[in-house]
Each structure stands twice: as structure tokens, then as C-alpha cells.
């Protein structure tokens, strides 16, 4: 919980993240704790990493830190639900992910935690896990993937959303080449642009870009179809891995487990693009309420990202552009 140690938060609201003790979630539900192992076990345990007061203090007065602090004030899980209920549901784990995210931030290049590559998961969710057939229209997939890429940058704490505009928080490189390119795009704009413009802009070629990244990662491979005319599709390499994002989400939502931040964003984008059906199909029980609760408790900027995605899909329908 690095955020608490960062100085200069006095302007932030006091009601903020009364970070609950880690155990809350398990206590309430008796289910196993959200496994930290899920969050890349090869890395050091959460506690030690971020308590480096010197670094924090040295940055305290830089412009960047101030922007970041301002952004952090958004980072409070807040929703129409009572804070008590959220705590009861084990959102402590949701906050905990901040540590992984911070670790990824500005550390060695080439190291991007798999959990943060939201677009890969969304891509897999948006295709049939066996045939690789698209579950969404081209346009909707583009919007969803564009949102996922912005989401990745937000999880990496490079950008945030303020008043529905994309704002840069940290211009240092991102450990993933594709996301870094998106960051370069954002940096290249003379002034902050609305999220909806970014969704449209990135949506034009997000599909190809993400697919190519996944080819490089060995998650999908190119294949040819000859149904009507020859065309190239991306087929999953490992069927289990392809089904995993949806199955994983469905399981966690069914068991009402605590869910890490990127997965909540993924759940939000799945709902926003209308892929819900596949999530529900994998779930053991009705998950809609829990899903909504989690999405509503996302930090402000991420919640806005999900809402903007839903709006972009809706507008594409209303503007005859689907």
C-alpha cells in the first residue's frame, strides 16, 4: 500500500482507503484467500517493496508526483454500495494489486506482469476458445481492445482519466512495447483528448496490434481459412489458455472471491461490449450482481473507462456504424 506512504496526500479526502486488513475477505466468506500466487509468485512478497520513504520523499515536490497524487485521490474504491459492504466482499485484495502495479512501474524493461496485459485477456474473451471465431463485430472488438490498451496504461500508472480526458501521469517507458507505443501516442498529443476520441482512434487498428503482440507471446498463431475466400485468422495455441480469462473470471465471480484489479476491469469491459453471455455460461450461479458491485467499486478513472467503452459501443449502434 505504497500510496499511504507517499507524502503530500493531505489534500486528498480523509475518507479515503481505510485499507482493511488483508484477511477481511477470507473471514467473511471462509473461502481461500485470493491467492497472491496469482499475482506472479516469482516476485517478492508485497510488504517489502514499496516502503522506500527516501524515494517517495525525493519525488514529493516534483510536478509529476503532484499530478500522480491528484490522480491517486481518484484511486479510492467508491461506489453507491456502502464501504462496509465492499470491505466485506474482500476488496482488500483489489487494493493490494497496487503493489504489483507499482512494481511494474518503471522497473526493468521487458518485464510486464502478465496480469496487467488486459488486452490479451480481452482478445481471448472476444474469440471462441476453440475455433478462434470472433464473438464481436470488428468495430466492437476494436473499441474493446482500444479500451483494454488504455486500461493497461492506467494499470501501469502511466495515464489516468480526468474529466473524461486522458491525462499523462508518468512519461517513463512502459515494459511492454505495444503499450509503450500507445503511451507515445498519448504523449504526442499537444493537449489531453477525450477518452471517446482515443477509443475511436485506437479502435481503428487495435485489433491487429494486439493480435501481433499475442503472436509474439505465443498465445495465438496465424491460420488460414478458406471458407469463402482465403483469409487469415488468429487461432489460440493452447485451448486452455484461450478459455482461461473467461473461466477464471466466471469462477471467481461465482465464488464471490476477491478479484484483482485488472480482472475487474476485464469484467467491466466484457459487460460493456456485450460479451456477458459467455461469462454467464461459465458461471455456476448468477453473477450479475457481484459483477456490477465490483465494477461500481472500481477506482474512478477505471470506472469511467468502462463507462466510456459502453457508451462508445452504444453510440456505434445509434450512429449506424456497428
Amino acid at each position: 500500500m505504497a500510496r499511504q506512504t507517499t507524502p503530500g496526500r493531505s489534500t486528498g479526502p480523509k475518507r479515503s482507503p481505510s485499507h482493511p486488513p488483508k484477511a477481511t475477505g477470507e473471514d467473511q466468506h471462509g473461502s481461500p484467500a485470493p491467492s497472491p500466487a496469482f499475482l506472479r509468485p516469482s516476485h517478492s512478497p508485497t510488504a517489502a517493496r514499496q516502503r522506500d520513504p527516501t524515494t517517495a520523499a525525493s519525488q514529493a515536490n516534483t510536478h509529476e508526483t503532484r499530478i500522480r497524487d491528484a490522480a491517486f485521490t481518484h484511486d479510492i474504491p467508491r461506489s453507491a454500495e456502502s464501504p462496509k459492504r465492499i470491505k466485506a466482499l474482500g476488496l482488500s485484495a483489489l487494493l493490494e494489486l497496487g503493489d504489483v502495479v507499482n512494481e511494474a512501474n518503471g522497473t526493468r524493461p521487458g518485464w510486464a506482469p502478465r496480469e496487467l496485459l488486459l488486452a490479451d485477456d480481452f482478445f481471448l474473451a472476444a474469440h471462441d476458445d476453440v475455433t478462434g471465431k470472433a464473438r464481436l463485430t470488428e468495430r466492437a472488438a476494436g473499441i474493446g481492445l482500444a479500451a483494454s490498451l488504455l486500461g493497461e496504461l492506467m494499470l501501469f500508472r502511466k495515464i489516468t482519466i480526468q474529466r473524461a480526458h486522458v491525462v499523462v501521469m508518468d512519461r517513463r517507458p512502459v515494459p511492454d512495447a505495444l503499450v509503450h507505443l500507445v503511451l507515445e501516442d498519448v504523449l504526442g498529443e499537444p493537449e489531453p483528448r477525450p477518452v471517446r476520441d482515443w477509443l475511436r482512434y485506437l479502435g481503428r487498428n487495435a485489433y491487429e496490434l494486439v493480435a501481433q503482440r499475442m503472436v509474439r507471446e505465443g498465445l495465438v498463431r496465424l491460420a488460414e481459412t478458406r471458407r469463402f475466400r482465403r483469409s487469415i485468422v488468429y487461432r489460440p495455441v493452447d485451448l486452455n489458455a484461450a478459455a482461461w480469462p473467461v473461466v477464471r473470471l466466471a469462477q471467481k465471480l461465482s465464488r464471490r472471491e476477491a478479484i484483482v484489479l485488472p480482472d475487474v476491469v476485464l469484467a467491466g469491459l466484457i459487460r460493456a461490449t456485450g460479451l456477458d453471455k459467455y461469462l454467464k455460461a461459465e458461471a455456476a450461479i448468477d453473477i450479475a450482481d457481484y459483477q456490477r458491485l465490483l465494477i461500481n467499486s472500481l477506482p474512478g478513472p477505471l470506472r469511467v473507462l468502462v463507462a466510456e467503452t459502453e457508451a462508445a459501443i452504444g453510440e456505434a449502434v445509434l450512429h449506424h456504424r456497428m
Binding site: 473524461a164 504526442g188 498529443e189 482512434y201 459502453e310 452504444g314 449502434v317 450512429h319 456504424r321
Partner: protein, 497 residues
């Protein structure tokens, strides 16, 4: 800092796929489906009202709607979810009234759409008889059309604007060729101007003819849907709107006038009654040859189909937008993820269509007069009422937020249009029995206006209920697909402060 750039790549890239005037114009015009109006609306209108002022009425309504469009397109730049009348009403006038307006719109577009099932049955029947020697009941054809619309509605097929554009261009050509041939063969050897003479319009039934003319223009309002995606918001959409209104007015006035010239102004009512939608094709067959009549016939069928699909999708999208706002059940706001079509709204519209066809088939009523014409005129009246309320909303909106628009655009034109529209509505309601072709004591004479009134009132009540019971829904009425972002960011803004 490392990128001292003043030019925005994003703007440049997005500008590339923005729409120009031709795209918007084609979209609006193809939804207007001219042949359906000239062959269906005009002939039935002559026959039912017994009045011959229709050609002039198209010109007058064109002028009134052009005036209305000035404020309408100007306000489109300042509101969210432009393209739906109720969005204007909600954001300009009042949210509860907006809900009422949205329900009226649903009802009106619905009536327009299901009415077309009657026309397509009647228009295809003679074709099948002539070409294949098949005598098919109108409702069998209507059911086939219904199935096509149901499937295409779920596939969101209207995106295929190229097909529509080709159809539109051929329809316009056919109308022009028909009209030239009509004018070249005037009844009695001289070209008459009776149907364009004000004296024949300003009679006791003027309201009926004017309201009928409005029906021909329905669809022009959709141009503003593209105000956010137009290449130049200040020019593209306004120009496309004025052009489409002018083209529609000119084409329909010409087509209906030419027909009256060929038949003779004194005969047009009787002949329209006898031949119904066959009239323009029979004339063309006489003047040019049967082949062109056949081409026109086939185009009429595709034109009606295109109109049905267009209205079907309009209604489905209305329900979709209202579902997204949660003014209607949120399930309506879902899309088919595979095709992106507003699936629930589409299916409801399909169900309504089936019910109406079945009821008319069992009841044995006339598909052209009792289904197409009544549905069309009742729907057209609803749209006319919406245009009037929207015009008031435009005036009020700009009175509250001048938004940097000129006095002409924000005050003079909207209020002049409001007065003109109010006159049209007044006479339209007064002559509503003439419009429908029923006696004054017929239940539909007051039934239709009363149904609209009740719908508005129910909508207002529902809006007020939302205000007290679900303020978060009330706050986003009229915002369409964007309503979700308002609720999401409202929370964030509080934190940011």
C-alpha cells in the same frame, strides 16, 4: 516535453473517416424511399382525401421543415444524443416531457413501419399475378416481407449503404422518367397547373393535405445523428439536411404534379381510387412501355422493403437508447454482440409487426387504406407533433443558452418554424377525419390524437416517477448511449473536488 508537437495526429487520423455531405445526404434520402411515397402515399392520399393540392403541400411543408431545420441542426452541435427528437425535448424543454416524446416517437415510428406491410402486400400482388400467374393473398406477401425484415433487423443490415444508394438513385431516376413522360402526355393535350394552384390547397381540407405531406418527409430528421462524425460540424450536417429537404420536396412535388397532369386534375382523385399504387406504373406503361412499368414495380417493392427495414431499425434504436438510459427496461439496451444489432428492440418490433399482420388478415381489412394509409397518416401525425414540440425545445434551449449562435439560427428561425408548425398541427388535427377519409364521428378521428395525448401524459408521469424514485436515471434522460458515462463520472467529479 520531448515531443513539442502542435499538430494532433489523433485529429488527423479521426478526420479521415469522418462523413462528408454526400454520405449524410445519401443516408437521409435512402431512408426516405421516394418511390414508396410517390406511388403509395400520394396516390392513396389523392384517393382518400379527395383533395388535389398535394403537390403544392409538399413545397410548403418543405419550406416549413427547412425553416425548422435551421435551429434543429444548430442545436445538434450543442446537445448529446442528437438525432432523436426526445433528446432535444429532454435537453431543451423538460425531461418528463422528453420521456413522453420518446414514447410518442416509439408509437409513431411503429405505426409507420407496420403500415408498410399492407402496402408491400398490395404492391407485390399484381406483380406476382402478372409475372408468375400466382394469385397470392396480400398477407402472405406481408409475412414474407416480415420474415425478411425480422432477419435483416437482427443482422443490422442497414449498414450496407451502397445497396441503398443504388436503389435510391434508380428510384429517383424512375420518378424523373415517369414524370417527364407524364408531362409529355398531358390529359386533354395541355399541361395544367391546377394541383399547384394555391386555390386548390387552401380549401377546407388543407390540414389533411399538409399533414399528409409531412409523412413524405419523415426520415429527414436523422441527418443530425451524424453531427458528431461529420467532417465539418458547422457545414456538413446543415447542408445535407437542407439539401435533402429541398430534394424531397422537389421530387415529390414534381412526381405528384406530373401524375395529375397526365391523368387530368379532375380525374386524379377518381383514378387514384381505382388504381391505387398502380397508377404511376399504368401511366408509364401507356406512355413509355410496359418494361419500364415493370422496372418501376420491382423498384417499388425494394423501396418499400428498404423503408420497412429503415423504420424497423429506427424503432429498435429508439428502444435501445431508452434502454441504455434505463428509462425503459435495461434489457432493451443490450446489443447482439455478434452483429451489434439492438436485439431486444428488434424482436419486439418484429412481434408487433406479426400481430398486426395477423389481425388485419383475420379481420379482412383493406391492406392499403386501413393498414398502410391509416398507419402512415397516424404515424405521420405523431412525427408532426414531435417536430412541433422539438421546435419549441430548440427555441427554449437557445433562449437559455445562446451558445454563440446567430440570432437567426437561435431565435428567429426556430420561433417562426414553431408558429408555422403550430398552424399545420392545428389544421391537421381539425381536418384529421378528412386525412383518414372517415366521417367525423368515426372512432379513429379522435382516437388517434387521444392515444398520443395519453401516451405523452403517461410518459410525463413516468418521468416524474423517475425523478422521485430513481434520480440517477432521471439525471441522464435524453442522453442516450452516453448516459452511462454521466453516472460513472458523477462520482469521480465529487472526489476530484
Amino acid at each position: 516535453m520531448s515531443y513539442p508537437r502542435t499538430q494532433s495526429n489523433l485529429s488527423l487520423a479521426l478526420a479521415e473517416d469522418r462523413l462528408g455531405i454526400p454520405s449524410v445526404l445519401f443516408f437521409v434520402m435512402s431512408a426516405a424511399t421516394p418511390l414508396t411515397v410517390v406511388a403509395g402515399v400520394v396516390t392513396t392520399g389523392f384517393a382518400v382525401t379527395g383533395l388535389i393540392g398535394i403537390p403544392l403541400a409538399f413545397i410548403i411543408i418543405g419550406l416549413v421543415l427547412g425553416l425548422f431545420s435551421v435551429g434543429y441542426v444548430a442545436m445538434a452541435r450543442h446537445v448529446v444524443n442528437a438525432g432523436a427528437f426526445y433528446a432535444y425535448i429532454s435537453q431543451g424543454l423538460s425531461k418528463p416531457l422528453g420521456v413522453g416524446g420518446s414514447w410518442v416517437a416509439l408509437l409513431a415510428y411503429n405505426a409507420l413501419q407496420v403500415g408498410l406491410y399492407g402496402l408491400i402486400g398490395a404492391a407485390t400482388q399484381p406483380l406476382l399475378l402478372q409475372w408468375f400467374d400466382l394469385d397470392v393473398k396480400w398477407w402472405v406477401i406481408a409475412l414474407v416481407a416480415w420474415a425478411i425484415v425480422a432477419v435483416l433487423g437482427l443482422q443490422q443490415v442497414d449498414v450496407n449503404s451502397k445497396v441503398l444508394a443504388v436503389l435510391l438513385v434508380t428510384e429517383v431516376l424512375v420518378i424523373l422518367v415517369f414524370s417527364i413522360a407524364d408531362l409529355g402526355n398531358p390529359a386533354g393535350g395541355t399541361i395544367t397547373f391546377d394541383t399547384l394552384a394555391p386555390g386548390n390547397l387552401f380549401t377546407s381540407g388543407i390540414g389533411a393535405v399538409l399533414a399528409l405531406a409531412v409523412l413524405g418527409f419523415v426520415g429527414f430528421e436523422s441527418s443530425v445523428v451524424f453531427s458528431e462524425e461529420a467532417r465539418d460540424p458547422r457545414r456538413t450536417v446543415p447542408t445535407a439536411t437542407y439539401l435533402s429537404v429541398a430534394l424531397i420536396a422537389g421530387l415529390y412535388a414534381l412526381g405528384s404534379w406530373a401524375m395529375s397532369v397526365a391523368v387530368g386534375p379532375d380525374q386524379i382523385v377518381a383514378q387514384s381510387g381505382q388504381q391505387q399504387s398502380e397508377l404511376p406504373f399504368n401511366l408509364a406503361a401507356q406512355h413509355i412501355g410496359t418494361w419500364i412499368a415493370d422496372v418501376g414495380h420491382a423498384l417499388l417493392v425494394t423501396s418499400i422493403l428498404a423503408a420497412m427495414i429503415s423504420f424497423h431499425n429506427t424503432t429498435a434504436r429508439y428502444m435501445f437508447a431508452l434502454g441504455r438510459e434505463r428509462v425503459l427496461p435495461p434489457a432493451l439496451g443490450r446489443t447482439s454482440h455478434r452483429t451489434g444489432s439492438p436485439v431486444v428492440g428488434s424482436m419486439i418490433q418484429t412481434a408487433v409487426g406479426l400481430a398486426v399482420i395477423v389481425i388485419y388478415a383475420i379481420g379482412g381489412w383493406n391492406p392499403v387504406v386501413n393498414l398502410f394509409y391509416w398507419g402512415g397518416t397516424a404515424g405521420g401525425m405523431g412525427v408532426l407533433l414531435l417536430i412541433l414540440i422539438t421546435s419549441v425545445a430548440v427555441g427554449v434551449f437557445f433562449a437559455r443558452n445562446p451558445s454563440g449562435e446567430t440570432t437567426w439560427r437561435r431565435a428567429v428561425a426556430p420561433w417562426l418554424a414553431t408558429v408555422a408548425l403550430a398552424i399545420v398541427v392545428f389544421f391537421g388535427l381539425r381536418n384529421f377525419a378528412t386525412l383518414l377519409g372517415v366521417p367525423e364521428d368515426h372512432p379513429l378521428r379522435w382516437g388517434v390524437p387521444i392515444v398520443y395525448l395519453i401516451t405523452v401524459l403517461l410518459g410525463i408521469i413516468w418521468g416524474l416517477v423517475l425523478r422521485s424514485s430513481r434520480p440517477e436515471v432521471y439525471a441522464t434522460i435524453g442522453l442516450g448511449a452516453r448516459s452511462v458515462t454521466v453516472s460513472a463520472s458523477a462520482d469521480t467529479e465529487v472526489i476530484a473536488r
